[in-house]
Amino acid sequence: MSQSSTKRELHIGKLPVISVKDLKRTYQTKVGLLNQEKKSVEALKGISFEIYPGEIFGLLGPNGAGKTTTIKILTTLLAPTSGEAKVFGCDAFGEEKKIRPRINFIFGGERSLYWRLSGEDNLKYFADIYKIPRAKQPELLNRLFDQVGLSDVRKHKVETYSKGMKQRLQIARALLNNPEIIFLDEPSLGLDPVGARALKQMIRDISAQGKTVLLTTHYMQEADELCDRIAIISGGEMVALDTVEGLKSKANTANASLEDVYVQLVNGEVAS
């Protein structure tokens, strides 16, 4: 697997903030009631990659490829079966206390918020959970509500928000602790074009602040526009890892889009 030299050069001298080596995760499930049969599902079969400070790194793949499993491991929510998953040089399972204050994450969809509370109460609650000093909270909340464009509805209950508003509130929540890395797992899921465009601009703004972003998405255009480098995984295995231009150059057709090369790589029509 080769990588284009252009982006690589940007990382010379920098240590990766995320380092994944031969990462494997197997889920054990039981089938049946009386004669229970144990089944194993290999979600990750040994993937490796590194992410450098300030990058927007895309993790693409079909449903069930292992993208969310990878993010769960890196966000300390899931233990790997074997291999190495390090964030800031610390093991994601075993040294999670050193990692948690410095990261945050968003999983796509409308959950992960308290719908009965107002947007403001949601942020206040998580600000307390993240032990942000009370004196700093009013200014921080004002800034975040301004940033995500929800200032006028901050006192409304979340259950009255649209899908796009809920997603923007999630972004505000994820920025509360000023994280160095933000994990975004399909953040544009179900958003309309206007909402998706606003979200993309927010991701660019986050990146402009020097934060590292790990993004999973099924929207190739979004990945094309945002990502510095992209890893494509399928069936728990790494299929390709390169810059957007580097990936496009692998296609077996001229002027291929990212979607073209993605389909070809996942279907095994071109070599990685």
Partner: protein
């Protein structure tokens, strides 16, 4: 007062203010009802009807003319509603709202996440019990000497604390199980049957008596019955201290269990499993 001392004072108050806000918002976010009518119907209506039912059944079975003994037991057991269905189901509710992973992956210590959730339920449970006695006074002729009220209130507060600590242990199971209903029902039934509220503990088999004495509320029910009968608190401090110890022990076990269950859930991948 200098600016520095003001900042220091504010910083000192921070953990306490955080605790109160976390308690309030987690209650509102997960258990809070939408309006007073709903609160009266759900949180009070059902438990009070249950209290009246069991009190009358117990009185019929044992043939006593004074309902107070059974009313006290069943009124205290009403705390089960907050303990089991409020505190006990909270982590399961967090999982359903997709917020469990946010709490687990936060830098907050486990006690800071875990304990504030019981605070409002302690007072909510206390309110339900007091209302139960009011209903008992109106409909069943329950009386309590005025001089006993402070000691009685203290005993009720301790009982509610102990019941919520029991709820914290149940809630830990929500980290691993997606269907808590069976456990919640067993827990609520055990509070009805094993605390002496409806059945004399001394008539139980010895092994069941051991369980009964490890349960929350058992000592509080005995204490409240003694106070209502005109005895003084100082003669039964062992029961009060005993209930506090049971509550603290349950809470300690709950915090340990939370950390243990969290590790298992992360290993199994059960935090987000449905």
């Amino acid at each position: 007062m200098t600016k520095n001392s003001t900042i220091l004072r504010v910083a000192w108050a921070d953990p306490f203010k955080r605790l109160i806000r976390k308690a309030t918002l987690s209650y509102k976010g997960l258990f809070g009802v939408m309006n007073w009518q709903q609160y009266l119907m759900v949180n009070l209506g059902s438990p009070i009807m249950q209290m009246l039912c069991f009190t009358l059944v117990a009185n019929y079975v044992y043939g006593y003319t004074d309902l107070s003994k059974w009313l006290i037991g069943n009124a205290l057991v009403m705390t089960y509603f907050n303990a089991v269905f409020g505190v006990g189901s909270q982590l399961s509710a967090e999982r359903n709202s997709g917020t469990l992973k946010l709490l687990i992956a936060s830098p907050s210590d486990r006690i800071g996440i875990f304990l504030p959730r019981a605070i409002l339920h302690i007072f909510d449970g206390l309110f339900a019990v007091i209302l139960g006695f009011v209903v008992g006074a109106i409909f069943l002729g329950f009386t309590l000497p005025l001089v006993t009220w402070p000691a009685f209130l203290l005993a009720l507060l301790v009982a509610s604390f102990s019941a919520m600590a029991f709820g914290l242990i149940i809630s830990c199971l929500g980290l691993l199980s997606r269907d808590l209903n069976l456990i919640l029902n067993i827990a609520s039934m055990s509070m009805l049957g094993l605390t002496g509220a409806n059945f004399p503990i001394e008539r139980m088999p010895v092994w069941l008596q051991t369980i009964s004495h490890a349960m929350p509320l058992t000592r509080s029910i005995e204490l409240c019955r003694a106070l209502q009968a005109g005895e003084v608190l100082s003669a039964h401090m062992n029961l009060l201290y005993g209930e506090v110890l049971v509550g603290m022990a349950l809470m300690f076990v709950g915090v340990l269990l939370f950390s243990f269950m969290e590790k298992i859930a992360v290993k199994r991948g059960a935090l987000e499993m449905f």
